[in-house]
């Protein structure tokens, strides 16, 4: 059965109530690694949003017009990753060629997100939840913006606490995980509004 939720609802839900990072805990590695400084975090977030939206659309087409007719849906994990990797490489090449400014902001992060599990996660959820094309793109875009929101918030907090007296053993990833946990708790407040998963 197809999902009955409208695309705008899926879009907002994937930002707030079902934030891919804070509700599903996907994409944690780059979330923790690149959140030391706000500009890099925003750059990475934008890159993730862009790639997530485009690859969801691409993978929707590949899934429904190639894998389903040929009865090869069990290959979806591999196929999705291959498509994501190829797309990322192509985009990096194009950006580097035509827009050095954009390359500085976005391009260097692209190879990092080839293996970002949040992106694969969104593609797989799209299949599990039986979204149509519009819903999938809305989910991809919303998921990306949700990820951007979460990493921007974490980077902002980490910049603020840089001079705080943190116990030695908690410095770095330790305190970041605690913060991420608290952020997830606060995002749970949204969950009463709507559920998409």
């Amino acid at each position: 059965m197809e999902s009955t939720l409208s695309a705008p609802i899926i879009f907002f839900a994937s930002i707030f109530t079902n934030n891919i990072l804070l509700a599903n805990f996907l994409g944690m590695c780059s979330f923790l690694a690149i959140s030391r400084e706000l500009p890099s975090a925003v750059g990475l977030g934008i890159a993730v949003t862009f790639v997530m939206t485009c690859t969801t659309a691409l993978n929707y087409i590949v899934y429904h017009y190639l894998l389903v007719p040929l009865d090869l849906v069990h290959f979806r994990f591999i196929v999705f990753i291959i498509v994501i990797a190829a797309f990322v490489q192509l985009v990096e090449m194009i950006i580097e060629r035509f827009s050095p400014q954009l390359y500085v902001v976005l391009g260097v992060f692209l190879p990092l997100i080839t293996v970002n599990c949040a992106i694969l996660g969104v593609c797989l959820f799209m299949v599990i939840r039986k979204y149509n094309f519009l819903q999938s793109v809305a989910y991809g875009l919303g998921g990306g913006i949700g990820w951007l929101l979460a990493i921007t918030a974490l980077a902002g907090i980490r910049e603020k606490i840089r001079k705080a007296p943190i116990p030695k053993a908690l410095e770095g990833p330790g305190i970041s995980l605690v913060i991420a946990g608290l952020m997830a708790l606060s995002f749970m407040a949204f969950s009463g509004m709507i559920q998409i998963g």
């Binding site: 890099s40 190639l66 196929v79 192509l90 194009i94 500085v104």
Partner: protein, 367 residues
Amino acid sequence: MTQILVGLLSMSGLCAFLALLLEIAHAYFADYGECRIDINQGTKTLTVKGGGKLLGTLMDQGIFIPSACGGRGSCGLCKVKVLEGGGLILPTETPYMNAEELASGIRLSCQVRVRNDLKIQIPESFFLIKAFNTRVIGLKPLTHNIREVHLKLIDPPEIVFKPGQFIQFEVPEYEGCPEPVYRAYSIASAASLKTELKLTITYVERGLATTYIHKILQEGNEVRINGPYGEFYLRHSDRDMILIATGSGLAPLLSILYQMAEEGIDRKATLYFGVRSRRDLFYEEEIHRIAASLPRFTFVPVLSEPLPEDHWEGETGMVTDPIQRDLQDGSQTEAYLCGNPFMIDAAVKLLKAKGVTDDRIFFDKFS
């Protein structure tokens, strides 16, 4: 059966399609045509194929920028000054730069892509860095675990280096070492002897390079090296010198002593050479021979664990012990240290406490 075949074919088809797409895109988008690289304001101009990273492009042209990570952007060593055409500085470079470097246009050459004509500036000494084909003309044990490797340069036939610098030794593939690895070794011979090099190499249990050098390398073998590298060399001044070495860390200091003897640099100098016991001492005769032409040079071997049969009457303990006792005021002293990192950390701490200033302590850590 059909399903397996269909699966296989469509997967291969999809991969082939994507690969083809990327190949076409690469040929079209990553082709930057011919670019000119101007080095040191016209000292050298190269015409190269654009599209590659600056580090690799220069290396293809025979100009070696020191780099320890092989261009992955993780060591931050391959810095060059890009005057024109380098584009914007990338976030992958900024962590390795201080404010002054950022302002003066220093870039990591492994991150800068050659996409148009470039003007760059590199230290003159980088022109001296080359890859050399050499032949092993002598292998001799200096101690039970240190081997002297004597190399004769074939192509190019001469090397110009500052005594104290090191070279990178290419260890080829062999059983137990699946791909070539590079290791840095200091040059132990005199810089005036341009056609030959001597390296002193300590055997490390299961070390990829040292196992090769100690167990496999034979006289007559060809060896590839590149260099010279490093900021560890004799500074010109009249200050008193303290030289401290442990084990094969003696090599660069010996090269510096050759230079002092040959150039008649008459400075008060003391070499403290720390090893475990008598059987670990080497090059003693060589040092005494050099000492004969350096009137104000003193050699102090220090044994940390002399054996009973050594009948040792010289200094014992840590190599830093006699310095602790002898050096009163270090404010006019220059220090050159080479050897294991623990000794260096301890010695730097001691020297600073004795008043030797930071900018006069030079060291080369063997790790």
